[in-house]
Structures are given as structure tokens and as C-alpha cells.
């Protein structure tokens, strides 16, 4: 009796070789890797809510006091929440899963894709290394010293030590530099959204700026770990590298590939030339919740989430339209605090009296739906500072529950490149070059040139400009960390809002604290601990000292 057939092929998958023999399949394979950037859209990483890292800083206040929507507030005031068993800012296993996929892709590309010509192969490799560099940049930004894996490793190679922070940044820079070399400068219409030369140079500039800031500022003051920190002597070299990479982007801008855009409209413009690297969305399949998360309550009665709102600290930072500073101590300005501010203010913040979707916002205590409420035990779901976050909101989206949101997320903008350039050039004492870049941005934003002359003045101006220009884009927390200022700016302090109370025909504003406990940032937090799951199973790794 012969046996009947049981050898069937799988019906639901491709076999290995078939994938590498067809460039269209390789494209489908590498495209999937871009889904990693969704983790970071609108600054949602690592706390899981859009803009939440800004809510760890002085720019934004999350309105909920309870875990979930308000987890960020708990983290901001309780440093003990971060530990190896629960690092809170945790990208470790997701990041390494993506790194493995990328290394697997690179290995397959080099061993199985025989039919592919050398240039296509290099372009695919560059694309994979661009994404890998980005993933590693996050891991290094969080932990300083991480495990570097540059090839596909199997179960027998599970034990790997951490590398030094300096080597980690060099590794990230090498990936971006390779990507910059082999990626195309532009993409055709069918491939918008894939990495380009400019994106890689931008990331390279950001990477070197981080490495240089840490070399300059860390000075091994915050822990005794052998592998964290970067020798101070390297700072000049790395600032120079950052400046060089930024110059490469500026060359591409000179060719018309990138340009500063109109601040008020570019965040809802899907094709803004400011974007060096942009994540796109498409209804109804791939959308996000930025609008539902941040619109004033009456935009979606009962359902608007009002995750986070701008702080008084941010609002005060916006200059007057003539470039002078705003001050509540000036009675004229205080009487009419929202008049004649610089244009970015009106594109970033919704304040009492703003025109919004055909109505005039009332954020004073007289409005029980949209007016200010005290931050406390519950989820407020309305402003606790007197402001709402306008940046990124799509004013044309009137049914956000059904439509959700599809505005693009610019992971890196040309404005950031100019700010990196200004900072790097300031540090290598090219004040003139630094001022050129800073002023190019300020001019486009409708502001006069910076009056700064010295390097410290330039740094103050750049910090201010980064706060205002890049608000809610998830930069501030990491800036304060790389400058090693977080334990000063974010510690033992309560941030504030402006409570408006109707008085006669006008409104009086009172500064109120919006934190019900002091903020806390301990020096140990400059290096997030390696997750316990890793140190238990990887016999070659050690925990960062101090954890």
C-alpha cells in the first residue's frame, strides 16, 4: 500500500530565495522597515502619547494626573519610577528586533540577491543602514552605551557586551555616512517617503551634535560607569563633523531640494520642502490621532482628549513681532499679552481669544467646557494652563472622530539643520557662519537678525530658537539632556499656566502652578538603565553603574 500525498507547500508565504530574486520584492521588504518610524511620529516616543516627551519639560503640560494619559506627569515628578525592571523610556527590545530585521536584510542582500546590480545593491544597503542608524541613535540617546550588532547573529552569539558611548555614536555616524554616500538625492513620485541623501546628512549632523555636546558637557560628573561619556577632547572634532554634515544639507538646499517653508501652513502641507525625512499618512488605513489628542474640547464634545497643553513658560518664550522680549512685568504688554507676538506664536498656541474653526476661544474660568481647570486627580480633558496646542492641528478637519488625522510628520526639518549648523559652528568658533544660519531661519520666520555676538550669547539665542521653532516636536527633553542641564532645569520646580478670569470687559491673568508635586530629574537619569530582561539573559553585559 503506497502512501498518499502529504507533502504540500505552504499556501500563505514566500520562500526565501524568491524574495531576493525580484527587486520589487526586495523593495517590499525594505519598505516594511520604515514602519519603525511610526513609533516616533509626533514625538510620541518613548511614553506612547504624542508630544509626551515635551511634557517632561517646560514646554508642555499633560492634563491628566492619572496613569495612562497622565503617566508622563508621574514620570516628570518621580524619578524613582525609572529602574532596570521598568526603564519607562524603553525602546530596547523593539529597537533590537528592528536591528535584527535590518541585519537579516543586509545579509540576504549580500548572499542571496545574485541578480541585482552593484548600484542597486548599494542603494538598498544604504537605505537599510539609514534605518539602522536611526534605531541605534535612539538606543544610544537613551542609554549612552549599548550592544552594537552589525550582522545577523543567532542563538549561539547571544552574549554581547556594551560598547563605549563614543564607539556607539561613531557606529551610528558610520551608518548615516554610508547612507549619505549611496542614497539618491531625490525620490520619484512613486517612492516619496523613502530615505534620501539629505535625510542621511541631516541625521549625521544630529548624531555628531549629540556626540559633541556630551563630550563637552558630561565630563563624567554623573556616574562612574567605564563605558559612558565621551572624552572632552573629542568635542571640537565632533562639532566640526556636525557642521560639515549640515553644510552638505545646505548644498542640497542650494540646489532647490530643501527650503524653509511657511510656518503656519507647512505642518498640514503634505509636500513641504522643509521635510528632509517625512512620514506620510493616508486615510482610512494609516492614520493617527494628533487632532483628537490636542484639539480644544468643543471640537469633539465629550471625546476630545486634550492630552497636553502649552505651558506659560513656552508662551513667555515667544518674542514680540519686533524681536523684543515679552514680559508680564511690563503692564502694557501684560494688559494685552497675546497681541503683536511673533508669527510662530499664532501658529503654535491657541490662547484665550484665538479665532479657531470659526469661533473665538474662551479659555478663562467662565467657560466650563474649554476654560482652564485646575490640574489634579482626574483626567481634565481640557486645558490646565489656559492654552491649547495648535501646531500640527488640521483646521479643516471638522469630524476628527470619523476622519482621524492624516497630516504628515516631518521627522527632520531643514530648520533643525540650520539650528544644528548654528550650534556646531558656534562651538567651533565660527560665529559668523553660525549667525548666518540662525538669521536665515529668523528671517524666514519674520523676525530681525539675532543681536548675539559672543558664543555664550549665541548659545542662549539658539536654545531659545530651538524651544520656539521645534516646540512639541520632541527635541527639548533630549536637548536639556545632551547639554547636561536637565538636572537643573527640570528638577525641584513646578511649571505654570495662566488662569484668565473675566474682570469687567477684560480678562485678568494670574500665573498658577500646574504641577501638584515638584519635578524631579536625578543625575542618574542621563543614562537610562539597561532593561533587566537583557542583563539577566546576556551574560556579557553589565548594568550601567549607578543603577
Amino acid at each position: 500500500m503506497g502512501s498518499c500525498k502529504i507533502d504540500y507547500d505552504p499556501l500563505d508565504r514566500y520562500t526565501d530565495v524568491a524574495v531576493y530574486q525580484n527587486p520589487a520584492n526586495i523593495r517590499s521588504y525594505i519598505i516594511g522597515m520604515y514602519s519603525e518610524f511610526n513609533t516616533f511620529k509626533f514625538g510620541s516616543f518613548p511614553i506612547g502619547y504624542d508630544n509626551a516627551t515635551d511634557a517632561l519639560t517646560d514646554l508642555m503640560k499633560y492634563s491628566s494626573g492619572v496613569s495612562g494619559n497622565g503617566t508622563v506627569n508621574i514620570l516628570a515628578s518621580d524619578a524613582s519610577r525609572v529602574n532596570a525592571a521598568g526603564p519607562q523610556l524603553n525602546y530596547w527590545s523593539t529597537g533590537y528586533a528592528r536591528i535584527r530585521r535590518l541585519n537579516e536584510f543586509l545579509e540576504g542582500l549580500n548572499t542571496k540577491a545574485q541578480g541585482l546590480d552593484e548600484n542597486s545593491k548599494l542603494a538598498f544597503e544604504a537605505e537599510a543602514r539609514f534605518i539602522r542608524g536611526y534605531v541605534y541613535f535612539w538606543l544610544v540617546r537613551l542609554h549612552g552605551s549599548v550592544v552594537l550588532v552589525d550582522k545577523l547573529i543567532g542563538p549561539n552569539e547571544k552574549d554581547n557586551p556594551r560598547s563605549s558611548e563614543e564607539d556607539c555614536y561613531k557606529f551610528v555616524a558610520a551608518d548615516f555616512a554610508f547612507a549619505a554616500q549611496y542614497l539618491p538625492a531625490t525620490r520619484d513620485a512613486a517612492n516619496t517617503g523613502r530615505a534620501t541623501k539629505g535625510a542621511a546628512y541631516g541625521m549625521l549632523a544630529r548624531t555628531w551634535l549629540y556626540a559633541a555636546s556630551i563630550a563637552e558637557n558630561d565630563k563624567k560628573q554623573f556616574n562612574t560607569d567605564e563605558l559612558t561619556g565621551i572624552p572632552q577632547a573629542k568635542a571640537q572634532e565632533y562639532y566640526t563633523n556636525a557642521s560639515d554634515a549640515a553644510d552638505e544639507v545646505k548644498k542640497l538646499a542650494a540646489q532647490g531640494i530643501y527650503a524653509l517653508d511657511d510656518f503656519a501652513t507647512m505642518f498640514t502641507n503634505k509636500n513641504s520642502k522643509e521635510g528632509l525625512f517625512t512620514m506620510y499618512y493616508s486615510r482610512p488605513l494609516i492614520t493617527h490621532q494628533q487632532d483628537l489628542g490636542f484639539v480644544p474640547p468643543s471640537d469633539a464634545p465629550g471625546q476630545a482628549l486634550v492630552y497636553g497643553v502649552p505651558t506659560a513658560e513656552l508662551v513667555n518664550e515667544f518674542e514680540m513681532s519686533d524681536g523684543s522680549k515679552f514680559s508680564w512685568a511690563n503692564p502694557t504688554l501684560a494688559a494685552n499679552p497675546y497681541a503683536n507676538r511673533e508669527p510662530r506664536f499664532y501658529a503654535t498656541v491657541l490662547y484665550n481669544g484665538s479665532a479657531w474653526k470659526g469661533r473665538t476661544l474662551n479659555t478663562t474660568t467662565s467657560d466650563v467646557i474649554e476654560g482652564i481647570t485646575e490640574y489634579g486627580a482626574a483626567e481634565a480633558k481640557r486645558t490646565v494652563t489656559g492654552y491649547y496646542a495648535k501646531k500640527f492641528l488640521d483646521q479643516s478637519n471638522t469630524n476628527i472622530i470619523v476622519n482621524k488625522s492624516d497630516q504628515s510628520w516631518m521627522e527632520m526639518r531643514y530648520a533643525e539643520v540650520l539650528l544644528i549648523d548654528a550650534e556646531a559652528k558656534t562651538k567651533i568658533n565660527n560665529i559668523g557662519g553660525a549667525k548666518t544660519s540662525l538669521n536665515e531661519l529668523r528671517t524666514k520666520r519674520g523676525l530681525p537678525n539675532t543681536p548675539s555676538q559672543t558664543a555664550p550669547e549665541m548659545m542662549t539665542a539658539i536654545e531659545h530658537e530651538r524651544m520656539v521653532e521645534l516646540a512639541f516636536e520632541g527635541h527639548r527633553y533630549w536637548d536639556l539632556r545632551r547639554w547636561r542641564k536637565a538636572h537643573i532645569v527640570l528638577n525641584n520646580i513646578r511649571f505654570t499656566g495662566h488662569r484668565g478670569t473675566p474682570a469687567g470687559t477684560g480678562v485678568t491673568y494670574q500665573t498658577v502652578t500646574v504641577d501638584n508635586a515638584n519635578r524631579q530629574f536625578t543625575p542618574a537619569l542621563y543614562y537610562i538603565p539597561i532593561p533587566l530582561d537583557e542583563t539577566l539573559k546576556n551574560n556579557a553585559i553589565t548594568q550601567i553603574k549607578g543603577w
Binding site: I6, I31, S67, G70, D78, R98, R100, G193, L536
Partner: protein
């Protein structure tokens, strides 16, 4: 046929010298017994009684005695004097002659060497008609069941045979219905003849790869050579919940919530935060309590009660027809079951249809043709009342607030914004749309049997079977309007909420899935008796292939919502629901051989072997060989037994050993390197949403079978001719090459580059099954008592686990499924203790938090060092049942007490799928007051820690409004409870009308009342002991009371 022809010739030849004897065979209550075998003693002549118990047989002058025999009755010999010979048969107490269904055949119970337990239809039907898996609890030795949901149509009990012996892959037994792998949960009990369970290796060796977790063999009824007998069974049942705790009412909620907030402020002050004002004031509470409340936001609604405290009705009807001639026999049945759930819009309907026909075509060839069709209709609200569904109505009920009116002033249902969204359990079940599922099952067997004419005892059989099951699901979700308020809102009014909970537009989803199985099973069977030697030899080949596929699509945004068909959905691209679909294929084949040998019915020997191939393994490891061998010795037949035989009428000792296999790999094709495509687009490139290819887990080419080596030793005894019976089996199983994953062994930095499945690990499992029977009659009073008891304890001997774990955290040496957690050693009682306490979680500790034991003594509490095993598996180690039956005249009574012991349940800790949550450690509404900002049961607030209740059972009373340290959410022993229980599982009282009452056209009329799950004795009191681990509300187990009638024509 040839034999019958000869008999016929003989009859003609002998006619002149013989007389024809007729008579009726009845039982003690004077009811006729059809199908009784009537044999002429000393001759080969025989007949059977017809449907009215009548027979007719010719008797020559040399023979004067007739022997009447029928299964379940003691054989009777009658000496014939005239032409009429009536006989009254007494029921037998002995089970020795009972026919036991074993793999690919039957055996007399006295000859069975393996461990096989069987239940017949009469015993099965002592429970109300429902899902058959729930009718087995406590009735069979060796079976363990847990029923975790009471939802009609989804109330299957989890069944385990002898516990479980492996920690990976499926652990449930394989069910074979009429020779083919099929499910049995939704068969109609009226169509079942017997269910037998094969527990040891030799009896299940013939099922090879499917046998490792035990085999359940279900045999359906077949025709008999008798005049047609028609039966009707009908019953009506009332269902209600066994248990669900009482939740706080409106004023009590506000009162307890204020107390909780006061304690939270104590926390705030002690950790350097500003206190918050209380949400409710005493006037509001008093006003609500004494009925003077005028605040439109407040009311008093028992949401949990309104959702669950209803009673519902179910009914079932079944008609069977059974009969036949010598040549053609038939059994047909039609059944209907309609179950209404206690939750509104939840019901289940089932129609069963079966016809089994046997025909002897000629002296060599016979054919059996079985057809079975079944339709199952399940209806639930749009928001599914499944324990595992996120935002299910139970979850909503325990979360919504009782201090709201049921309806707002404008008549719309009220809602409250819990952390998950707006909840109103009643609107969720009445207004969210529906989910309808229709499953149509078609099953057929065609079996040819050939008696090979030139070799006596040799027969060949070919079974072919085609089964198809198709399910159509149609889900209509429709937005509904609620009047919502946010947490803590005490002024103003409700706001109109148009899209709870996340249903934005009306949406229709339809899916169609089907699976079909082809089975081809030719076999040869040879029976031979030479003197004292009896042989039975079986050779069989089996091939089966199962194909399945599924596709689904849908539409959104219906302009007209009355017609819920895809055509009526919006045709805008944005409203499309992208279709999905995939296919799957599985195939197996194997060779089976078995030899049974008996010498003088005293020494029994069985050897069986199966060779199997599974597509789950690479060609190198594809074939597995599964032998089994068994010995039996009927000691009571030995001469030395002597007079002892008057007491011990039967004693058989038996032992078996064998190897069984399992092919449950963790992913399909684990030995192939492959790429899969995302079902949904993941990224927008070039303006287009695109799906991407991604790699499946890396291959493992070394995979092969998981092997279960089972030893079974036991005895079967009967005392005083069956008045007492004992079946005892003890077993020991060793499992090697456990098919398991290793993912948790590797550091995350490896990025998960690990094959899905390895042959790792060794486990063992030991235990015993015991059945004790007593059966007797005192005059017209008959009674029987059957006790079943089984115990099974497994142990992990080797598991690939992290060697850096401390000894008390290693699973090696411990039973499967034990619960990990911190050991609770009382509470921190004051702030000083709390400040000096340590926690695995961040945040401040407070008085009323659990104090965890520092197991490694390093002064800190850490997850890697201080967790240990604090709870047993969910699956009880011990399961037992006590079945009482009695009858007196027309009355009959039965009761089944069923219990389980040595298992535990976690009320909080690691989520295992409840409410769509898995792998997360957290509290639940049953461990943390006002969990998820919802309501709390009375028992919980009353037993929570407060400064006035320092010896509490549950941690610190909290309103949830302050971010306490998640310290208590870590798995811990404080939330683990013993869920041992004893239930009055079924009880039934019946009365059969005396024959004199009605027309003789009707044979039998019986009325009965019965109950199911009427009483439970356990330690939980508030919750059902079979409820799912760590949950957010569940569909409660059901208690039923029913009344019914049986009619036989």
C-alpha cells in the same frame, strides 16, 4: 449470508419435526425489551425480539431450552413446555459483558487491557441538553473539565485527560467521532450511543500522532433489527447565573468613594503633593440616599444587576427513529436546541440532523452510510459579550458608575467616561448592532465491509469520509448615542456622545471561512479462534487532509442602514474595508498494526504500532513510530482462586506501556525559511499605503516528534456478581522532546532571531483514576452509586530556562502552569513602615500595601530574585464525582455531585487574555477598589485595608484618582485563592406513567424535572470557582432548572 442460507435450509428440512414457539420478553416493570437475542440451547439457531419484545422461533424435539440474553441484563434460560415461552429478564449488575468502544473496534469490558472509560447515552442524558463537553464533568474517571464562560454557543468546557503532561502546544484530547477526527461539543445527546476515553498508551497507540493528550471516541447510534421505534424528548430550561458579586449602589458608591479619596489625600500629603478636594459631598450622598436628589447627573442604577440578573429560557426537542430488518437498519434523528442568554441579545440555536444506515448487500459485502448535518446560529450584541473581548459588556458594567440615572433627562442612556472610553453596558448590548454567526456542518462516512469469503475471520474495510464545515459571520456595528459625563463631574449636565466606544460609522463586516477534511482509511481485520487461542489482528492505513480558508470583507458608512448588506455601504474609497483572506493546509498519514491475543480468556496480550508522518516536520524528522504493548491476567479464572470467586467474581490485573507522539509545532512550517506579507498596509510610500514582506522565524531543520512514554498498571474487579465493581488504573508518563519555543531564553539584543520551535524539555505526569460502583435492588427499589476520582500531577524535569534565575524561580522540578508571584507577608501598617519598605515597582509605598518577602535577603524586593511560585495551575489536580441513581416503580432519581481540588485562581496579577489583555500584570476590579475608575463589589470595599481595618484581605482602599505605586499589581500570593469546589452538578427526578394510563400505541411516557449547577460549596462565595483567571468581568456560569418529557412510540 451463507450461514443464514444454511440455517434457512435446515429450518425447512427440520420443519416437520418441530414446533414454533412464540413469546414476549419483558423487564421487571413489564415493559417489552426489543432486540433480545433468543438462542436455542445446544444449537446454532437464534433470533432477536422485535420492537414489541416479541419473538418467534422453531424448536425441534431434541432441544427444549431457550437462552435469552441482552446487554445490561442477566442472561436467562427458560425450558419450553408448550408453544409459548415468555421471559422476564433481570437487570445485570455486572459490566463484564459491556461492549467498550476502543480504537478502530470494540471489546468486551472483561477483555480490555488498556485504561478505557466509557459513558453511555442513558447516563449522559441525566444532565440537561446543552454543550456535551459540560455533560462529562465528574462522570468519567480520568477526565478533568473547566468551564470558564456561560455564554450560549461559547460555553465549551476545557477538557483534559489525566491532567496535562506537556507545557507546550495544545493540551486537549483528540476527539474521534465515528472513526474520523471531528468535534463533538455540538452533537445532540440523543444521537450519541457512547463516549469512551482512551487514556493509556496501548489503547491509543493506534492513533499515534494525535493520541498524546488522550483520545475521546464518540460513537453515534445505529439502527437495530426491530420494528421502528420513535422517541420524542423535549425540555424547557430556565437559566440564571451561578454567581456574580453584588456591586455598590449609588449612595454607597459615593460614600465609599469619598472615604477612598480621603485616604488618597493622606497619601498625597505624605508624599509631598497637594491634597485634592473630594468629588462628592455629604449632602449629595444624603440626597441620593433619601430620594431628594435633584442633580440631573445623579441617580441610582444597578448596572451589573440590570445586565446580568435576568433569567432566560432555553428549550430543546429531539425526535429519533430507530429500526430495521436483518438486512437494512437505520437510525435517524432530528434535534433542536434554543438557548437564550441572560444577557440581552445573546442566544444560540442548533439544529442537528443525522441518518446512519447499515445495509448487508450480500453475504460478503456490507455498507454503512452515515450523514450528519448541523446548523449552529449564534447571536450576540455588536459589542461581543466574550470574556476576552476588550470593552465587553461585563467590563463596561463593572466600570460604569452606579450613581448615575439609567437615562438622562432627554431619554438617552447615560454614560460615564472610564479610562477606556464611554461605558454603558445596557446600551452596549441593546444598541451596538449584532454579531451573527452561522455554522453549517456536513459530515459523511461511507464504509464498505468485505468478509473475505475464502478466509474465515478475515474482513476488509474501507472507510472514506468527507466533512465540510462553513461559517459565515456577519457583524453589524452601529454608532449609538449616549449622554456622557466625565469622571468627577458633579455639576452641569450630560454631554451628547455620538460614537461610543469608538464606533464612528455603521460598519458591516462579513467573513466566510470553511474547512474540509478528507479521510481515507482502509483496513484489514482478522479474527481467529483455535482451541483456547483467540487472535484479532488489525492492519490499517490512514490518510487525512484538512484544508481551510477564510476571507472577509465589509463596508462602512451606510446611507440607509435598514438593509445590512455590503451593496448598500458607501462606495467612497475611504469607506472601503480592505478584504482579507488566507488558506491553510494540513496533511497526515500513518500505518497502524495491532494484535490482540487471548488464551482461555485468562491471559490477554495486545501489541499495537503506528507509524505516522506529519507535514509539521522536515522530511528528515517527518516519520514517527509509536509502539504499545499490554498484558492482562484474569486471576479470578485461575484454579487457585477457588471459593474466593464467590466473593470476588472477577479480578483482572493489567499493565501497558507505549509511546505516543505529538506534532504541535509553534508555527506552521517551522523548518522552512520564508517570508510573509502583512495583512494590512504598514507604511505610506509614494502616497500609497503598502503592505510589506517580513521574514518568518528562522528555520529549525532538526525538528521531530514530541514523544510521550506512558505506563499504565491497574486492575478491574467485581464482587458478588457485580454488586460492587472497582476499576483502578495508575499511570506514569514521561514526555521527551517537548515541542517548545525558546524565545524567553535569549536577551532582547538578539532581536528574536530564534527558530520558533525546538525539541526541548522533559516532563512527567503521574496519577490514578478510580471508579467504584455499587448497584443493587431491594424489591422494586433499584439503586446504584458510582464514584469517580482522578488525580494527576505533572512535573517539569527539564526546561530550557535562564540559568541565572535563583533556585526558587526555576520551573525545573515544578508542576506545569504554576503561578509566579511575590510572597505576601501582611501589610505595611503605617507610614514609617511604608517609607522603609521596598518594592519591585517605582513610586511611593503607602500603608495598606502588601509587604513582600525578601527571599534572597538582599534588603530589596526585585522581580528577578524575590518572586517564586505562589499558586497552582488553573487546572485542578483532583477531579471527582459521585453519581447516585435510584428507581422505584415509575419513579427514577439521579444526582451527581462533582468537585475539583488542588488548583488555584488569580484574581489579580498576570492577564491571560481577559478583556483583550495578555501578558500584563495589573489589578482587576476584584482586587483593587474602584479599579479603572469604575465601581467596586461590596465585598472588596468592605475587606480592603483602611486604618480602621488593619487586618484586611485586600490592599489599601483607594479611589484610583491618585497614582499609587503599582506595587500591588505585581503578581503576588495575596490575590491567589484556592478554588476547590464541590457542586451539585445535576439532579433529576422522573416519573414514568404506568402503561395502563394511556393507549397502547404509546410505549412509554416519562416526565422529569432536573437541575444543573444548583449548589456550589467553595471558598470564593462571590465568584464562580470556574471563572477565568484575572479578569475584568466575565459571562457567568449558568444554573439551570428544567422540566421535560420523554415519549416512546
Amino acid at each position: 449470508m451463507s450461514l443464514m442460507l444454511c440455517m434457512f435450509c435446515f429450518n425447512i428440512a427440520a420443519f416437520s419435526q418441530s414446533k414454533v414457539v412464540t413469546g414476549t420478553v419483558t423487564d421487571k416493570s413489564n415493559l417489552p425489551i426489543p432486540g433480545v437475542s433468543v438462542k436455542v440451547k445446544g444449537s446454532s439457531r437464534a433470533t432477536v425480539t422485535d420492537g414489541t419484545g416479541k419473538y418467534s422461533i422453531s424448536l425441534d424435539a431434541n432441544h427444549t431450552a431457550l437462552v435469552f440474553s441482552y446487554l445490561g441484563f442477566a442472561p436467562k434460560e427458560v425450558t419450553v413446555t408448550g408453544v409459548t415461552a415468555n421471559a422476564t429478564l433481570d437487570e445485570s449488575n455486572s459490566q463484564l459483558d459491556e461492549v467498550i468502544v476502543v480504537g478502530y473496534g470494540t471489546q468486551k469490558k472483561s477483555n480490555v487491557i488498556g485504561s478505557v472509560a466509557q459513558i453511555n447515552s442513558a447516563d449522559l442524558k441525566q444532565a440537561p441538553t446543552m454543550n456535551i463537553t459540560n455533560m462529562l464533568a465528574g462522570r468519567l474517571p480520568g477526565i478533568t473539565t473547566v468551564q470558564s464562560s456561560g455564554r450560549p454557543g461559547a460555553d465549551d468546557a476545557t477538557i483534559r485527560v489525566r491532567g496535562t503532561s506537556t507545557y507546550a502546544g495544545g493540551q486537549g484530547p483528540t476527539v474521534i467521532v465515528d472513526g474520523v477526527e471531528r468535534s463533538f461539543a455540538q452533537l445532540d445527546p440523543n444521537e450519541i450511543e457512547s463516549i469512551s476515553v482512551l487514556k493509556d498508551a496501548v489503547s491509543s497507540a493506534v492513533y499515534g500522532l494525535q493520541a498524546a493528550n488522550g483520545i475521546i471516541l464518540v460513537t453515534t447510534k445505529r439502527g437495530k433489527s426491530m420494528s421502528p421505534k420513535v422517541s420524542y424528548d423535549g425540555a424547557i430550561m430556565q437559566n440564571s447565573n451561578t454567581r456574580f458579586p453584588k456591586f455598590l449602589d449609588g449612595p454607597d458608591y459615593m460614600d465609599w468613594f469619598s472615604r477612598a479619596e480621603t485616604l488618597d489625600n493622606d497619601y498625597r500629603i505624605n508624599v509631598g503633593m497637594d491634597p485634592s478636594p473630594l468629588t462628592y459631598n455629604q449632602q449629595q450622598i444624603d440626597a441620593l440616599r433619601n430620594g431628594t436628589n435633584t442633580n440631573p447627573l445623579f441617580g441610582n442604577t444597578d448596572w451589573v444587576g440590570a445586565l446580568l440578573d435576568k433569567k432566560s429560557l432555553s428549550q430543546n426537542h429531539g425526535i429519533t427513529v430507530r429500526g430495521g430488518t436483518e438486512k437494512v437498519r437505520y437510525f435517524s434523528s432530528v434535534g433542536y436546541l434554543g438557548q437564550d442568554g441572560v444577557v440581552e441579545n445573546t442566544d444560540f440555536k442548533r439544529f442537528n440532523l443525522r441518518t446512519n444506515v447499515d445495509a448487508e448487500l450480500n453475504s460478503i459485502l456490507s455498507v454503512a452510510f452515515d450523514l450528519n448535518a448541523r446548523m449552529q446560529n449564534t447571536t450576540t450584541p455588536g459589542i461581543s459579550p466574550d470574556n476576552t473581548a476588550y470593552m465587553n459588556p461585563f467590563y463596561q458594567a463593572v466600570r460604569t458608575l452606579p450613581n448615575m440615572p439609567m437615562y438622562a433627562e432627554n431619554g438617552l442612556p447615560t454614560a460615564y467616561q472610564s479610562n477606556a472610553g464611554y461605558v454603558n453596558p445596557l446600551a452596549a448590548v441593546s444598541q451596538s448592532g449584532y454579531q451573527k454567526g452561522e455554522t453549517n456542518v456536513f459530515q459523511s462516512n461511507l464504509t464498505f465491509n468485505v468478509k473475505v469469503p475464502w478466509v474465515e475471520g478475515l474482513s476488509a474495510k474501507v472507510l472514506t469520509s468527507f466533512d465540510k464545515s462553513a461559517t459565515e459571520n456577519k457583524g453589524w456595528l452601529t454608532p449609538y448615542q449616549l449622554m456622557g459625563r466625565v469622571r468627577g463631574q458633579t455639576s452641569g449636565n450630560f454631554t451628547l456622545i455620538s460614537n461610543p466606544p469608538g464606533i464612528t460609522v455603521n460598519t458591516l463586516r462579513q467573513s466566510y471561512s470553511q474547512n474540509n477534511r478528507l479521510t481515507f482509511q482502509p483496513s484489514l481485520n482478522y479474527n481467529k479462534t483455535i482451541g483456547d487461542h483467540t487472535f484479532t489482528v488489525l492492519a490499517l492505513y490512514e490518510w487525512s487532509r484538512r484544508k481551510s480558508n477564510v476571507f472577509s470583507t465589509g463596508a462602512r458608512n451606510f446611507a440607509l442602514s435598514d438593509l445590512q448588506e455590503i451593496d448598500f455601504g458607501s462606495s467612497a474609497t475611504n469607506d472601503f474595508i480592505s478584504p482579507t483572506g488566507n488558506s491553510d493546509i494540513q496533511a497526515r498519514n500513518g500505518y497502524v498494526g495491532r494484535i490482540n491475543y487471548a488464551f482461555k480468556e485468562k491471559y490477554l496480550f495486545e501489541v499495537a504500532m503506528r507509524a505516522d508522518a506529519s507535514l509539521n516536520f522536515p522530511p528528515e524528522g517527518r516519520w514517527g513510530y509509536f509502539p504499545g504493548v499490554g498484558l492482562g491476567w484474569v486471576a479470578s479464572e485461575e484454579a487457585f482462586f477457588g471459593n474466593l470467586k464467590n466473593t470476588v467474581s472477577f479480578l483482572k490485573l493489567k499493565a501497558t506501556y507505549g509511546v505516543l507522539g505529538k506534532d504541535a509545532v509553534q508555527t506552521d512550517f517551522p523548518y522552512l525559511s520564508a517570508f510573509q506579507l502583512n495583512t494590512n498596509p504598514v507604511v505610506v510610500i509614494g502616497g500609497t499605503p503598502l503592505a510589506a514582506l517580513y521574514t518568518a522565524s528562522p528555520p529549525n531543520r532538526d525538528l521531530t516528534w514530541e514523544r510521550h512514554k506512558m505506563t499504565n498498571v491497574g486492575f478491574q474487579a467485581e464482587l458478588w456478581n457485580g454488586k460492587f465493581g472497582v476499576d483502578f488504573d495508575c499511570f506514569y508518563t514521561v514526555v521527551t522532546d517537548v515541542l517548545t519555543g525558546r524565545g524567553s531564553l535569549y536577551p532582547p539584543s538578539l532581536g528574536g532571531n530564534v527558530p520558533s520551535t525546538f525539541n526541548d524539555g522533559i516532563t512527567d505526569n503521574r496519577g490514578f483514576d478510580l471508579q467504584l460502583r455499587h448497584k443493587n435492588n431491594i424489591g422494586k427499589f433499584n439503586y446504584s452509586i458510582t464514584g469517580n476520582f482522578n488525580w494527576a500531577r505533572n512535573k517539569i524535569i527539564l526546561i530550557n530556562e535562564n540559568q541565572n534565575l535563583p533556585a526558587w524561580q526555576k520551573r525545573t522540578g515544578r508542576p506545569i502552569g504554576e503561578k509566579l508571584g511575590f510572597v505576601v507577608d501582611g501589610f505595611y501598617q503605617n507610614w514609617e513602615e511604608a517609607r522603609n519598605g521596598t518594592s519591585p515597582s517605582a513610586g511611593f509605598l503607602a500603608p495598606g500595601y502588601f509587604r513582600y518577602k525578601d527571599l534572597n535577603g538582599d534588603g530589596r524586593i526585585t522581580r528577578d530574585a524575590d518572586m517564586t511560585f505562589v499558586g497552582r495551575s488553573n487546572l485542578p489536580e483532583i477531579m471527582y464525582g459521585l453519581n447516585l441513581q435510584a428507581s422505584y416503580g415509575g419513579f427514577d432519581f439521579s444526582a451527581l455531585f462533582q468537585g475539583a481540588a488542588l488548583s488555584s485562581l488569580a484574581l489579580g496579577g498576570l492577564y491571560e487574555g481577559s478583556s483583550g489583555t495578555s501578558g500584563i500584570e495589573d489589578n482587576s476590579p476584584f482586587t483593587k477598589t474602584f479599579y479603572g475608575y469604575g465601581n467596586s463589589p461590596y465585598y472588596l470595599v468592605e475587606q480592603s485595608w483602611t486604618p480602621d481595618n488593619p487586618n484586611a484581605k485586600y490592599p489599601r482602599l483607594t479611589s484610583g484618582g491618585v497614582s499609587l505605586s503599582p506595587h500591588n499589581a505585581n503578581q503576588n500570593s495575596g490575590f491567589i485563592i484556592k478554588n476547590d469546589y464541590l457542586r451539585l452538578k445535576t439532579i433529576q427526578l422522573g416519573y414514568t406513567l404506568p402503561k395502563t394510563v394511556f393507549n397502547s400505541k404509546i410505549d412509554r411516557v416519562r416526565f422529569y424535572v432536573s437541575g444543573f449547577n444548583l449548589f456550589t460549596w467553595d471558598k470564593l462565595k462571590y465568584l464562580d470557582p470556574e471563572m477565568p483567571n484575572v479578569n475584568n468581568g466575565f459571562y457567568p456560569q449558568q444554573k439551570m432548572i428544567s422540566g421535560g418529557v420523554n415519549l416512546t412510540f
